[in-house]
């Protein structure tokens, strides 16, 4: 296990020097919020943030991705035959990811990497990604990671943990992958006992600060049909405007759409993030739509997150408590309130 101390600027310089071995993603301030961007020459990383606006899921699972290419040219001998588009699986590291977003990758992995089918692009990109987590000294009032199997300094889903000691960062490797990464980040000094003690105290202090909870303990014992027919869905769903904000900002949402687009002589098969909130999501060719009413779609989202997923995988709810849906839903539909309604029903 490697434990090193860096000043803020030394850390960034050391990361820049790994440029040949790893593509590094760091949080960058863009206007009013932060997003993860590749660390290049002119990039100014900014670790002074609560969490990025968009989750880092787009680094492993881009919003729009070309799956296959083919030629649309009637003269071409292989016209209409689909070929895989070139992909980049070079090693990369997401530095500064919060433990909730890292947990989200494991939640989503069960979908993309299962015994029957493996999504080659998601799996290979995830395997080449190292998660260097930044523990949360100051959880937000909308954070509830500790109610869903995570925590502000939860190590289970990370390769390296960064502790923000104020004047310095303490980097501690957790997995073999993380140790290999840290050994290539040249610089810093071995962590001394004072720093280590300070770092160890951050976790418990942070957990004390979490005020939000998501109640889901009784959901396993309820029946699907019981919750499905509960009377509160109309009220929960009234304000929903069926946009994609919750699904696109959520690190544990994974639904996508496959579209073919033609441009001149090239035909591409593309996949784009899609949202179950859209009325088109389940619209069949015949015109029949199993979820044509808004409350059916809103119900689907919460049932999927809090009931179907736990029933299917027996490993907790499909939520890592990051709080983005709570903060940015345009009409303030709050998953914590819906979970309470479901849990108490």
């Amino acid at each position: 296990m490697i434990k090193k101390l860096f000043t803020g600027s030394d850390w960034v310089d050391a990361l820049k020097k790994t440029g040949d071995l790893y593509k590094i993603f760091v949080p960058v301030r863009e206007g009013d919020f932060h997003n993860f961007r590749p660390l290049e020459q002119g990039t100014k990383p900014n670790f002074d943030f609560y969490n990025t606006r968009l989750s880092p899921k787009s680094i492993v699972y881009p919003q729009s991705e070309r799956m296959f290419e083919s030629l649309n040219d009637p003269e071409a001998p292989d016209k209409g035959i689909l070929k895989e588009a070139a992909k980049d699986y070079a090693p990369r590291a997401i530095v500064g990811i919060r433990p909730c977003d890292a947990q989200a990758f494991q939640i989503v992995k069960r979908n993309f990497d299962n015994p029957e089918y493996r999504d080659p692009w998601w799996v290979r990109r995830f395997e080449s990604t190292i998660l260097v987590g930044l523990g949360c000294n100051d959880p937000c009032p909308t954070c509830f990671c500790s109610s869903v199997g995570g925590g502000p300094f939860h190590e289970e889903y990370l390769d390296v943990m960064l502790y923000d000691l104020g004047d310095k960062f303490l980097a501690k490797s957790i997995t073999e992958k993380g140790e290999e990464f840290l050994s290539k980040v040249i610089g810093g000094s071995p962590a001394d006992d004072t720093a280590l003690k300070k770092a160890e105290a951050l976790g418990p202090a942070a957990i004390e600060k979490i005020t939000s909870t998501l109640s889901s303990d009784k959901l396993k014992d309820k029946t699907v049909t019981g919750l499905f027919n509960a009377p509160f869905w109309d009220e929960v769903a009234f304000s929903c405007i069926n946009c994609g904000t919750c699904t696109f900002l959520c690190p544990t949402c994974w639904c996508f759409d496959i579209q073919d687009e033609v441009y001149g002589k090239q035909a591409d098969r593309i996949r784009n993030w899609d949202t179950c909130m859209s009325p088109l999501f389940t619209l069949e060719g015949s015109g029949h739509n199993p979820r044509e009413n808004k409350f059916q779609r809103v119900r689907q989202r919460f049932m999927h997150k809090l009931k179907y997923y736990p029933d299917k995988y027996n490993n907790g709810v499909q939520c890592s408590g990051c709080g983005r849906c709570v903060r940015y839903c345009p009409v303030n539909i709050d998953i914590r309130q819906v979970a309470k309604l479901m849990n108490e029903y």
Binding site: R53, S64, P141, C243, T275, V326, V331, N332, I333
Partner: protein, 316 residues
């Protein structure tokens, strides 16, 4: 403004008890600071959920489209103008509505407040005597509401509802000496390349969530042009050309109908100035056709009426 809360609750209770309306649409207090959730009440005993303050920036007219029941609804200036537009465009009938008018002194811009406290976590926001008091962990600051109004509220010329069945208070004095299109004029004088660059940068963070479109009361098409498949007008990926096509075409579909309520910007999770597209078209509608959307039920909008004695030359 929050003193209207009691009056709104009373009105809802009364209307539902008397059977004058089947449902009442208003806001209930949100679970995070500076947010309120649109709510539908059918039981007069639940009327105490209703709430009004300077964070009611969403446009409730959005929830009226094609409803068939008798609805009580609260409406300030911009919302009432959208209700008029809805009536003219046959999305709701006047007879179905009982409008509780609210003289509005403006909504606050949550993003501006967050910037002012340098993004420290806000736990509670209170309004008192024209001041906004913001509290958080180790944070307490007070701001003058007038300095933190939403961009549209700062230049609003129609604070009072243009259509109502009862009012919760005295009419608010309308603002004077307002320069309505300062931001549009700044862009109008740019060269072509600069304009294109300006708008490209503006929508570069768009994630095609369609929160702007869905929050807008004007966007009520059963199948939006971006969702059409046969023919497919716009691609569904985040390709910048497709994204620009969506925003510009949507602005044109709202041309001359937009009341500048800023619900689109409030809804956008990426903080994009969606209003910038329609503001230019609102200016054009005013200058070319002397038209402001939703001011009266008796006037048809310029884009859907033709008269043989049209005073514009280009039609002849």
């Amino acid at each position: 403004m929050h003193e209207y809360t009691e009056k709104i609750r009373d009105a809802a209770k009364r209307l539902l008890k008397e059977g004058k309306v089947d449902t009442f649409i208003g806001f209930k207090k949100g679970s995070v600071p500076m947010m309120n959730e649109p709510a539908l009440i059918t039981d007069p005993d639940k009327a105490d959920l209703l709430h009004w303050d300077s964070n009611c920036g969403l446009n409730l007219c959005n929830y009226l489209t094609k409803r068939t029941d008798r609805i009580g609804i609260i409406a300030n200036g911009c919302t009432s103008r959208n209700i008029v537009t809805h009536i003219i465009e046959n999305q709701i009938k006047r007879e179905q509505l009982y409008i509780v008018g609210i003289p509005c002194t403006g909504m606050i811009d949550p993003r501006a407040i967050k910037r002012a406290v340098k993004f420290k976590e806000i736990l509670d926001v209170e309004e008192k005597d024209g001041r906004i008091i913001v509290k958080g962990n180790g944070l307490e600051e007070s701001f003058e509401k007038r300095a933190f109004l939403q961009k549209n509220c700062a230049i609003c010329l129609h604070r009072n509802p243009v259509i109502y069945d009862e009012m919760v208070g005295e009419k608010a004095p309308e603002q004077q000496e307002i320069e309505s299109f300062k931001d549009v004029k700044k862009i109008e004088v740019m060269g072509s390349d600069d304009k294109w660059g300006f708008f490209t940068r503006m929508i570069s963070s768009c994630i095609r969530c369609y929160a702007c479109r869905n929050a807008c009361p004007l966007c009520y098409c059963t199948t939006c042009f971006v969702d059409e498949a046969q023919p497919q007008w716009v691609g569904k990926s985040i390709d910048p050309t497709d994204t620009m096509t969506f925003h510009i075409l949507r602005a044109f579909h709202c041309a001359g109908r937009c009341t500048d309520c800023e619900a689109c910007e409030r809804a956008c999770p990426m903080g994009i100035n969606v209003r910038q597209f329609t503001k230019k078209l609102n200016k054009d509608a005013l200058e070319l056709f002397s038209w402001e959307a939703g001011m009266s039920e008796d006037q048809r909008p310029p884009m859907d009426v033709y008269k043989t004695d049209d005073y514009n030359d280009f039609i002849k």
